[in-house]
């Protein structure tokens, strides 16, 4: 009985195996190439490590947003709340308790997750415009609390006095940002692969299902609300990591960590790169930040114009973002023939 039941699945696995393992290999090569790029950048741009580190941190944040917006389909304009929670969590921990980076990283992640869970309890009941407004409000409330508690947090002057210990007691954070860069890269690689596993899991499939049709998910017995709270909490954990790395590497946290600009930019980066693919978070963030950096250094006053135009073009011609380009191109080439 048991045997006859399992057979069809086995047959299928066998016929699909070569194609699947080839696909797996290609994906692995792409991932390795990406890591290679990350390592190569370390040697090619030794004078720009600070900027590239900011890109890496931003990628972690945008990845965490992809989980919520790209996979589960929950639109939020307050992701900075979770980033800021992680940044202040890790920053305050370093100033008042322990300057150990890995411990601080864990604290930042947990604070991000806790804030996400608590705010998620009411955010995940809301939809559409109400949800957007509420997510913005959460970030602003947190910002205001940190601002008011200036005796502890430094308020609008920012949290000063972070002085991180060396990682594992060996690798000190140096003035050129070499250690900081490799630290951020390592964290990013771990987060990326963890998320890859997560989105391919049953839990990830459920998130996509909620995105596609929440009524259908309820009708198959899924407690949609609690799943969303769970997804949001995991996202908060990762956004908290991004905030913590930022606090540790720059040894500074300011109120801008909760800023609306950060939330909005993260969303634009994700839309640019493409939602619900993880790789979109990487490519969108890199393109946005490099264009921003270059445009701002050429014309410090009108760079926003360049970014705006780029976003318009992408949203208009490739609504799926840069990750949608290959498919678009293939279709276009076929049409040309």
């Amino acid at each position: 009985m048991q045997e006859t039941q399992i057979k069809p699945a086995e047959n299928l696995a066998q016929t699909a195996a070569p194609a699947r393992s080839r696909k797996f290999l290609i994906k692995l090569l792409i991932d390795l190439a990406l890591i290679g790029v990350g390592i190569a950048a370390y040697f090619i741009f030794p004078d720009n490590l600070g900027f590239i580190t900011r890109i890496l941190i931003m990628i972690i944040l945008v990845l965490s947003l992809d989980l919520v917006l790209g996979y589960a389909g929950v639109a939020t304009l307050g992701h900075a709340a979770l980033f800021g929670a992680g940044a202040y969590g890790a920053g305050l921990f370093a100033v008042y308790f322990s300057a150990d980076p890995l411990l601080g990283l864990l604290v930042g992640a947990i604070v991000g997750a806790i804030i996400a869970f608590i705010s998620g309890l009411f955010l995940m009941r809301a939809h559409g415009l109400t949800l957007l407004m509420l997510t913005i409000a959460v970030a602003q409330i947190l910002q205001e609390i940190i601002n008011k508690e200036r005796a502890i947090t430094g308020g609008s002057d920012g949290l000063l006095g972070i002085d991180m210990d060396p990682i594992f007691g060996i690798y000190a954070f140096d003035f050129f940002g070499k250690t900081g860069y490799l630290y951020a890269l390592t964290v990013l690689v771990i987060v990326f692969f963890a998320l890859k596993i997560l989105v391919a899991s049953p839990f990830g499939a459920m998130a996509k299902g909620i995105h596609e049709s929440a009524p259908r998910m309820r009708a198959i017995g899924t407690p949609v609300y609690w799943r969303l709270v769970g997804i949001y909490t995991i996202s908060g954990f990762i956004a908290g990591i991004a905030g913590a790395v930022s606090a540790q590497v720059t040894e500074l946290v300011s109120l801008e960590a909760f800023g609306f600009a950060l939330s909005a930019e993260a969303m634009v980066m994700l839309i640019l790169g493409g939602l619900g693919r993880l790789y979109g978070a990487i490519i969108g963030t890199v393109i946005f930040m490099v264009v921003h950096h270059t445009a701002a250094s050429i014309d410090p006053f009108n760079w926003l114009f360049v970014i705006g135009t780029m976003v318009l073009i992408v949203v208009y011609f490739v609504p799926e973002g840069f990750m949608g380009l290959p498919v678009k191109l293939r279709r276009w080439l076929r049409w040309q023939k």
Binding site: Q5, P8, P202, M206, R216, A219, I220, G221
Partner: protein, 254 residues
Amino acid sequence: MSVGMNVGMEVKNLQMHFGGIVVADDINLTLKPGDRKALIGPNGAGKTTFANLLTGNLTPTGGSIHLDGQNIAHLRESQRVKAGVAKTFQITTLFKKMSVRENIRLPILERTGLGTKMFKKAEAYPEVEAEVEQMMTQFNLRAHADIEVHELAYGQQRLVELALTLALKPRILILDEPSAGVAASDSHMITDAIERLPKDLSVLIIEHDMKLVFKVANKIIVLVNGAILCEGTPAEIGKNQQVRDLYLGARHDT
């Protein structure tokens, strides 16, 4: 034991109003294992609302719903599904950008409690995959296994929805107009699939297609303005002049 007495679903004095509009007016209904009951009535009679009250999508303003003797009226939709109540929607509600296989996989993962697993791939559970294959075979969907559902003909989407719902292993199955929107040439697929449902399942079918109703139902309930007008065997309902005037006649005119 008295357990046998209570097996199935028993709806008593179910009430529902939206503001001042009464859409369920003191409805009583029982569904025993193996029942094939049809709920018919004009548009706006309250059929879909009644289905939603049973599944927990809506909360009744009065009355009780018992399943095997337990009141489930206070349970959330997801909890009622786990208790064994499932339904298909009047307008197919599927994961449109997922393949047929992925559509059927989700309810099985959920039912077996694997829905929150995070470390293995969704398709890495052999017993789940075996069941997905079995459902696809049962509903003649294997040829379309890897096609995204929105690319299928509507009739086939209906089959996917049936397969997906049956994958929940419900004891009470509610079908809200399963043949609505299906091309006439495809409607036999739906009829066949309904006729092949497990014998001990309780089925409540809401349907406008009288051919389908008379083929599968052994009891017909006529709902008008949220209240049961009459119920009986297909033969009795077919002869009932009141029903013919109110509903069947009107349909024949159009």
